[in-house]
Symmetry: C2
Subunit: 188 residues, 2 copies
């Protein structure tokens, strides 16, 4: 157990997700997670600052992917196209992790503290995206509005993507939601 475990992080995450699903997030301790993974609690804390981080450690990387895609979108893009470029890049990054995303969402939905945390992360994503849009020449009002709408589209698409039986990819569901957004002002 003291030896270097190349897959320790993944094993800890798997163990944590199993325990959160079986007993609830609040009822799970880091000691139990380590034990289930066959590792020490000390190893747990080398990989994660707390049990919550198991669920949120991907969000900063996601934010960076989205922001850098906004920065490199084509010059001629409309505000929503800039936001869309970011979201689709984020969608591609998440696409491989649908099963994880679905389990994670169930755990979050069952725990108010985690819902609050998730909403704070989405709010921070909107803020980062607004800054990236301002860097592309939009004024504050347009940038903030496009970013908030972008995150709204992302949330709605994400909910469809993780629904049971959904086979479409996240980038496809996102593109459909973006197309639908453009039509909402006119059609019923």
């Amino acid at each position: 157990m003291g030896r270097w475990q190349p897959d320790a992080r993944n094993r800890l995450r798997e163990a944590a997700m199993d325990l959160f699903s079986e007993h609830g997030f609040d009822q799970t301790t880091t000691a139990e997670i380590a034990e289930r993974a066959g590792l020490t609690e000390r190893t747990f804390f080398r990989h994660f600052t707390d049990k919550r981080e198991v669920l949120f450690d991907g969000s900063q990387a996601l934010e960076q992917q989205i922001v850098s895609a906004v920065a490199s979108a084509p010059e001629s893009s409309s505000p929503l196209e800039l936001a869309a470029a970011g979201l689709c890049a984020g969608g591609e990054a998440l696409e491989e992790r649908r099963a994880f995303a679905r389990r994670r969402q169930r755990i979050i939905a069952a725990t108010p503290e985690l819902q609050e945390r998730e909403l704070m992360k989405l709010s921070s994503l909107a803020e980062a995206m607004a800054a990236a849009l301002q860097a592309r020449g939009l004024d504050r009002q347009k940038a903030l509005l496009s970013a908030e709408i972008g995150v709204a589209v992302f949330r709605a698409a994400f909910e469809r993507w993780i629904a049971e039986g959904q086979r479409k990819t996240l980038p496809d569901v996102l593109r459909e939601a973006l197309a639908l957004t453009a039509s909402l002002a006119s059609t019923k």
Copy 2:
């Protein structure tokens, strides 16, 4: 002090807002709020369940106003027009309280616990609005997307409305944001 105080609720709110602004939300106790208002702590708890409720007791009424305006919007409305009808009704209800809204926002921005609470309230508003849109005949996908976008527009407009020096009314700022939303897909 034991007598019926017709304006007790307002005095308690005033006192709480002053103390939150002066010392911070976390550092203020209900006993201090009651003392500043010249009332007993018992009276405080007859009006509010805790100090947080001073900042959030209006949100349920706001949600009901928005939902009922969606329900009674004209038959021919597009999805975004339905959402807009709700938002503008909410905007009219808030319009008289700009000074309060501005102070409240500063207190919330300084306290992560309150930010989380505010985001949960907005998320619940989007859910209620989506249900009201489904009741108007939209499918779940369109309803959720319109509601999320509606709340996104509301947040962006609200930020402009409470900015120092802003003289436009909230319904006017909301209508501008809605018009801008329709143009974001095409113009830069």
